[in-house]
């Protein structure tokens, strides 16, 4: 049994660790993003600083939280970055890859701490050694030591000890940011020659005792140290602690003969003019992590809390629908106030639902941003030249979908690079630009999100697919149209065994892609033209949780037709009804649409079996149109999508279920599946 206090401690620590993990992951992602964006260019000062900052934050955080193994690589990396930043080492394109590798090593260590995934210690040591090698190889020729000019720092060994006086005027909120003066003092002591460090604290302004807030820092600090460290090294101590105006550094080279002499105390030290007044709530400029100007006001919330909120709003919607249904049976004149209240309630619930759903929406750039690196590495491995273009990065979709779509997309991207795009030589021979293009685009079309993976490669090879399908025993024939041939690659067991490479074809087939996408209510379509390229289109529902639906009655059963597929509904006249090959169709504005009789597809007892006595709901899904015969239209309402598969298997023809106002379950129709079922009848 753990004592309550012991338990609390571990929980608290865990929570802080979690914050570190998240920040560390963010820093790594930021670093990678910058590195990738560079291509082979040399980073400019700002980018260099950003990379350095990320590495430094990781190192600092890892040190504080006791993940000492993580500081090892970051430390060497930081050293190299520092030298680069100070132009002590010339930039080389290979360094980008090296930094990416280092980032991977840190990610691996992070994963180990976070999820207990195994660490490849050899790889980490390797990266570290390579970084160190780069530093050693690039070490500059010794620079004359008597010119410690600002901006041209020297390696510490080359500097003569000199006396530095630092006047540090922190902003009052410094403690609130978790900065501890003793660690600064400790770091400075390390930089100083043994015994040559002196520290004074001065009160700047003493408030009335009643107003004294012990968590505000009202002291000014003066440090005097004899050091061989460069100005940059000293500044690094104050990184994330102070910006330039809060720190005043006075350096004075010490001649060996006058070494013992104390400098005149008044000599030109101008302390930062008093303490700057920061109003409560005003953020000290650029102080925190020196990210001045990009302060985003956001909070971190546990995902399960958001999910809980979504669920609760879902329940609220059901309750609201129930109330509306009950009120519909009441005399509207007697219960006018109630009706008004219910209308208000409906509006409020919808607003609330909209707001809650928007919390879950995240931009797809989160997924897209993984691909530049993937593409870069695979292209390099395959000797192909590929340009990756992304559009619609800001398209938002449900967080749950984002996580589920990343793997299938990655698979499609790898496939396009491996099988789709040709080598530069081949492309030139075909009269194409040697640089292949891979385009990722996302957009919202109606109630769905459409993601395209387009390449301008060779396209799908019809003959090879047919041959392979035949080989694998998948039913097919030469007479099939292209649109029927392409989906063959999704068949389970359609293996590309003869062309296994380490990029794609690791035994994970396209069937898995399709299954994963279908698992989240999506579909995959393929368009391909030989020699011109291929396009894989994934279409996903905007959110999995709530949907606008039209409830219809068939016999005693109620069904929900998703509103985004409904075009119109009509009562057909006898002359509109025709028969083609024994199948009933309805003529609407010159177009013949097949009639889907739900009672026949679902084996139900319907009141209406003749189209002219019922209502036809015209629908369009995946480019296919049809007319669904129903007994009556009931209501247009928002329904909360519930999974049937949680406790049961997948139900053909339904995309889930919902709970109606009366507490009964109604199935939500899946139109593409219905079309397929209709064709089999």
């Amino acid at each position: 049994m753990t004592t309550p206090s012991g338990e609390n401690n571990s929980i608290d620590l865990n929570r802080f660790n979690q914050v570190f993990f998240e920040e560390c992951a963010e820093n790594l992602a930021e670093m990678e993003q910058i590195l990738i964006s560079l291509g082979d260019r040399e980073p400019d000062q700002e980018q260099m600083n950003a990379i350095f900052r990320a590495a430094h934050s990781i190192k600092g955080g890892a040190g504080i939280f006791g993940f000492n193994d993580m500081t090892v690589v970051t430390h060497v990396m930081e050293s190299l970055l520092d030298r680069l930043r100070n132009q002590e080492i010339p930039f080389a394109p290979g360094m980008i890859d090296l930094f990416l590798e280092a980032g991977d090593a840190i990610s691996m260590q992070l994963a180990w701490h976070r999820e207990g995934k195994p660490v490849d210690q050899e790889a980490i040591d390797g990266v570290r050694a390579k970084l160190q090698q780069t530093i050693d190889a690039g070490a500059p020729a010794p620079v004359p030591a008597d010119a410690p000019k600002e901006g041209t720092p020297l390696s510490p060994e080359e500097l003569l000890p000199r006396r530095c006086r630092l006047a540090f005027t922190p902003d009052p909120e410094i403690f609130a940011r978790g900065i501890r003066m003793e660690s600064i003092v400790a770091e400075l002591t390390e930089l100083a020659e043994p015994g040559e460090f002196d520290c004074h604290a001065q009160l700047m302004e003493v408030p009335e005792f009643a107003e004294l807030d012990p968590e505000r820092c009202l002291t000014r600090w003066d440090f005097t140290l004899l050091t061989r460290a460069s100005r940059e090294q000293i500044l690094d101590v104050f990184m994330f602690v102070a910006d330039e105006e809060q720190l005043c550094i006075e350096e004075e080279p010490v001649d060996r003969r006058t070494k013992a002499a104390e400098p005149a105390p008044e000599q030109g030290v101008i302390p930062a003019a008093g303490r700057r007044a920061y109003d409560n709530g005003e953020t000290a400029p650029g102080a925190f992590g020196r990210r001045g100007g990009e302060i985003e006001s956001s909070i971190r919330v546990n995902v399960t809390k958001v999910d809980q909120l979504v669920n609760q709003v879902g329940e609220l919607l059901i309750t609201q629908a129930m109330l509306t249904q009950i009120a519909a049976g009441l005399d509207p004149i007697l219960h006018q106030a109630l009706q008004r209240g219910l209308v208000q309630l409906e509006r409020n619930t919808r607003d609330l639902q909209g707001s809650v759903m928007s919390i879950r929406l995240v931009p797809i750039s989160i997924v897209f941003s993984r691909f530049p690196r993937l593409v870069r590495e695979i292209a390099a491995k395959l000797g192909k030249q590929v340009e990756l273009k992304t559009t619609g990065d800001s398209t938002e979709l449900d967080r749950g979908l984002i996580e589920k779509i990343a793997d299938p997309l990655g698979h499609l991207v790898r496939n396009a690079l491996d099988h789709g795009l040709e080598t530069p030589e081949k492309r030139v021979a075909c009269g194409k630009n040697p640089m292949g293009t891979l385009q990722l685009s996302a957009s919202q079309v109606g109630g769905r999100i459409v993601i395209d993976v387009t390449d301008d490669g060779a396209g799908l090879n019809r003959d090879r697919i047919l041959a392979k399908a035949l080989e694998c025993g998948i039913p097919c024939s030469e007479a099939m149209s292209d649109e029927e041939v392409w989906p063959l690659i999704f068949a389970p067991g359609f293996s590309t065994a003869s062309e296994v490479t380490d990029i794609s074809g690791r035994g994970v087939g396209m069937d898995v892609v399709l299954k994963n996408v279908q698992g989240i209510g999506g579909r995959v379509q393929i368009a391909s033209e030989a020699g011109k390229g291929a396009r894989f289109t994934i279409s996903l529902p905007l959110t999995l949780a709530i949907l606008e639906g039209l409830s219809v009655a068939i016999g005693k059963e109620k069904f929900i037709i998703p509103l985004n597929v409904v075009i119109e509904s009509l009562q057909p006249k006898a002359e509109q009804l025709k028969s083609v090959n024994g199948r009933e169709v309805v003529q609407v504005r010159g177009e013949y649409l097949p009639i889907l009789k739900l009672h026949r597809i679902f084996n139900l007892e319907a009141e209406v079996t003749e189209p002219q006595r019922g209502i036809l709901v015209l629908v369009e899904a995946d480019g296919e149109r049809g007319a669904i015969l129903v007994d009556a239209l009931l209501d247009e309402q928002q329904v909360v999508v519930k999974s049937i598969e949680t406790n049961y298997r997948q139900v053909e023809g339904s995309a889930g279920a919902t709970i109606l106002g009366d507490g009964r379950v109604a199935l939500i129709l899946d139109l593409p599946e219905l079309f397929a079922m209709h064709k089999r009848l």
Partner: protein
């Protein structure tokens, strides 16, 4: 009463015994592990699902969760099946799934020491021997102990989608 009952259970658990919920199907008495039972409720408001075997009655809304209902009486061909206000549904929780089973009636909760459970002989019950863990004896009456987890997970009932179970369960579990 309750405390006495509780201590009896503790004693039994220590001996490796367990408690069983007994129910009747046709003329036979069955028992299933009480720990798998979530609740017992009446039979109403079942929404049919198309193109499913007759013993899948449909799904119900159990406080916001969609739960399939299996009528074991139909599955195991036990005479005339009627539904009235006394028809009982046992909601069980196995394999991370919540499933309701329709039975003729629920009788009791009994504790069976392990030594009173005998292996099931071939045949004898309408239920396949595969789904029977043993035969218990209680007051000279035979109790057929059902391995409900195996039964629900079986291909025969088609409740668990053996092929695409995992991905879909996670994906739409919102």
């Amino acid at each position: 009463m309750q405390t006495a009952h509780g201590s009896a259970v503790e004693q039994l658990t220590a001996e490796g015994g367990a408690e069983y919920l007994t129910f009747t199907l046709g003329g036979e008495s069955y028992g299933l592990d009480i720990l798998k039972v979530q609740e017992i409720r009446g039979y109403d408001c079942v929404t049919r699902i198309a193109n499913t075997p007759a013993f899948i009655k449909g799904v119900i809304n159990l406080r916001g969760v969609i739960v399939p209902i299996v009528d074991l009486r139909i599955k195991f061909n036990m005479g005339e099946v009627t539904y009235h206000e006394f028809t009982v549904v046992i909601i069980i929780n196995v394999l991370n799934k919540v499933v309701g089973i329709v039975v003729d009636g629920v009788s009791d909760v009994v504790a069976l020491p392990p030594q009173s459970i005998k292996p099931a002989p071939e045949l004898g019950a309408s239920l396949d021997t595969r789904y029977i863990t043993g035969l218990g004896t209680l007051n000279d009456e035979m109790l057929i102990l059902v391995d409900i987890e195996k039964l629900i997970g079986s291909d025969e009932l088609q409740i668990v989608d053996s092929t695409a179970e995992n991905t879909q369960k996670e994906a739409v579990n919102l």
